[in-house]
């Protein structure tokens, strides 16, 4: 039982201790196997946490046995257990996936650094999700961000633009984090506490400008981290030039975690009873979400680089999540959570299949996808399935999230939003359909460097890729699992416990 009582801390402690060990290992397979083992172990721990929370309700864990609100509290309810499972699950598939892809894309001497950094990045993201202490969120946010800057910069070996992308990401990410800290400082100054639940208690009924300013700073800070539409400029280059396996991980996990924190702050810390929040939703978040959905999706249509196209699509998809949030009903938050989870799965699968193409053909531009279905059938099929999921075709996970989003919009008496969701999905049809057309209908190039015959991607990549794709299909059919959990998560968040 001692194990179970300490369970909440284990997903953080285990990879945090294990990550530096990668640095002392020799190059080659050892750090890869070690990191894979650790990530799978972390996933098992997070799944255990999720099942415990689903059965017996939220867990509160006092770090170092210092009772909250004075001590740091880890609080796991369904909402963050779901995100924890997503993050660790994506890591548990992308790290085993990454071996071949990484040795082809980065300097061999840097591979052990890569595995150390990606584990630390995972720790940061898990820590942001698990903690109930507002300042702790900042610390973990920066742990994950700093390792992400390094991970993105590792792509500099193939394309030097990764370096400038990482630098821009660093500047914007640091500004975002600092805004977040200012927001926390304002809240701390007006309440004297950092524990999220205690903040809520202290702030109840006290709507003053200081708290409003605090929320504004937090919103901007997290908006930068989450690539909320006008603050997304760091994202396309970072995703496009990072090593392919890194793109798969951060695209699936990092922005989702920032959106989760935003939802957490909105409901657990502030609560919907603050009048300014609903105004903010209607006049700031909703227009930005809609603008992101349309503008970023339209920009995605015109991208020549598939990774960059997927990156712009990510910005658009963040719009759906924030749309769900800004509807402001329980169904809306539920839809946001479902989409956080499902979008993580589909983006991971899409970026993983691009990584396979990158490994065999050495490019991630559209040119590499010509006739791919006959050259690398499994990779191409995975891309098609995940792409359809991104569009929201029935029987895929994407359909589930769009469906709940539509339902939330119509239930809230905002049918116009529903139509806009459908309309922007049609843009997704264009940009995904364009790549599918290249893969299925175009002939294989007959001249140039891309004409050389290629083999299918190795099994070490295909198996994680298809596990991820399978998850998209499975959760597209078993809708009760995600939807049920997300519904309870939204209920517990909105219930204000």
């Amino acid at each position: 039982m001692a194990f179970l009582t300490q369970l909440p801390i284990l997903p953080i402690i285990l990879p945090m201790i294990c990550a530096p060990l990668c640095l002392v290992m020799p190059d080659g397979r050892a750090p890869y196997l070690w990191a894979s083992l650790v990530s799978v172990g972390t996933f098992v721990l997070c799944a255990l946490l999720l099942s415990t929370v689903a059965e017996s309700g939220a867990i509160s864990y006092a770090l170092g046995d210092w009772a909250p609100p004075l001590g740091i509290e880890y609080r796991i309810d369904l909402a963050n257990a779901l995100v924890l499972t997503l993050v660790s699950g994506v890591a548990a598939l992308t790290i085993p996936f990454s071996y071949e892809s990484i040795i082809s894309e980065i300097d061999k001497r840097q591979t052990n650094l890569f595995y150390g950094a990606i584990l630390i990045c995972m720790v940061g993201l898990l820590g942001v999700t698990i903690t109930a202490d507002a300042f702790n969120v900042f610390v973990f946010l920066e742990i994950s961000s700093l390792s992400t800057y390094a991970l993105v910069a590792l792509g500099g070996g193939v394309d030097r633009r990764a370096l400038t992308a990482a630098f821009n990401y660093l500047v914007m990410g640091t500004i975002g984090a600092t805004f977040f800290v200012i927001g926390i400082g304002l809240l701390y100054q007006s309440t004297g506490t950092l524990n999220m639940n205690d903040l809520r208690v202290q702030m109840a009924g006290e709507a003053n400008h200081m708290i409003e300013a605090g929320f504004a700073f937090i919103l901007v800070g997290l908006g930068l981290k989450a690539a909320l539409f006008p603050m997304h400029l760091w994202l396309p280059n970072a995703y496009a030039y990072a090593p392919s396996a890194v793109s798969a991980f951060i695209a699936a996990a990092s922005t989702k975690v920032a959106v989760y924190v935003l939802i957490r702050f909105t409901y657990t810390v502030f609560g919907a009873d603050f009048a300014f929040i609903s105004n903010l939703f209607d006049f700031v978040l909703l227009p930005l979400a809609l603008a992101g959905m349309f503008i970023a999706s339209i920009v995605a249509v015109f991208q020549e680089d598939v990774k960059r196209m997927l990156a712009y699509s990510s910005v658009g998809q963040i719009g759906y999540m924030l749309l769900g949030l800004s509807i402001g009903t329980e169904a809306g938050v539920q839809a946001a959570f479902i989409h956080i989870f499902n979008h993580g799965l589909m983006k991971a699968a899409l970026f993983m299949s691009v990584a396979c193409v990158m490994l065999r053909l050495g490019v991630h531009s559209c040119a590499g996808f010509h006739g791919l279905i006959s050259r690398m059938p499994f990779t191409a099929a995975a891309f098609i399935v995940a792409g359809l999921s991104l569009v929201g075709i029935p029987l895929t996970a994407g359909f589930v999230s769009k469906w709940y989003l539509l339902q939330a919009a119509f239930d809230a008496g905002k049918p116009a939003l529903g139509f806009l969701v459908v309309a922007s999905s049609l843009i997704a049809v264009i940009y995904v359909g364009r790549i599918i057309e290249l893969m299925v209908l175009r002939p294989v190039p007959t001249e140039g460097p891309l004409a050389n015959p290629v083999r299918e991607a190795p099994l070490s990549m295909l198996i994680p890729l298809w596990l991820m794709t399978g998850a998209n299909l499975y959760l597209g059919v078993r809708t009760d699992w995600t939807a049920g959990l997300a519904e309870r998560a939204a209920a517990s968040l909105m219930g204000g416990t």
Binding site: R160, T164, T174, I175, V181
Partner: protein
Amino acid sequence: MAILQFIVERYNYWIFIILMMIGLYTVIARGNLVKKIIGLNIFQTSVFIYYISIGKIAGGTAPIYVPGDMERRTVHEEDHHGDGYNGKDHVATEETIRAKDHINGQSNDLHHGDALHQGDANELVTATGVAEGASGKVANLNAPALNRDLPANIHAGEANATIGAAPTSDKIANTASFNIKDSDAATGLGGEREPGLGQELAAASEIVANVLYSNPLPHVLILTAIVVGVATTAVGLSLAVRIREAYGTIEEDELETADTIAEFGKPDPDAPARAGAR
């Protein structure tokens, strides 16, 4: 004039805001990557100043534990709550009395000094005086320390006098312990040093009787944030080094031109929007 007063009273926030804006402006307006990092640093430092200034309490001392202060607070609480007595305090009280007896044997006249009569009979007054020639090393006079042989092992130049209402018996426990670092004085505490000590104790007791600490938490938070800031600067500067190795420049506009030429072979007017840097 009211506006002027409004501004002057909140000068720390104005410093914070001005620094913050300087930092942000530098990040946005400068094309040189190192200058951007410097701007980022100014921006982050302004937030450190903000945090530290919200932790400051007017008249408060640095949040470093003053010996005996906690005992005073404990007794305060027990006065308020009546039955808030527990075993731990009992031990502490006993130790205090033991220490008193121990020291009384060596310096009888010390606890008849002025300091001891200033405190209310129901209030525990802790006096800390720094003996002459002391180096300032602090020894906390809590229970474990008292267990040991007091005059022999305390090297910090401090004297601690305590008067309090012992929660168990309403009996006043007088404790005086003092220490002299000078090696020549270690053997004897009497004689010529006594008058000076008494005066210092009197002065110190007034200060310590109302110890007011600044809030330590923002300092701790900002220590963490400083570590994060240093790490960010290190990563940013090393990225700048790598960029210079790869491009031969760290000027943002030249980097964009280089990328555009590499991709299209000629300068492209759309470059800034596409590169996403601006």
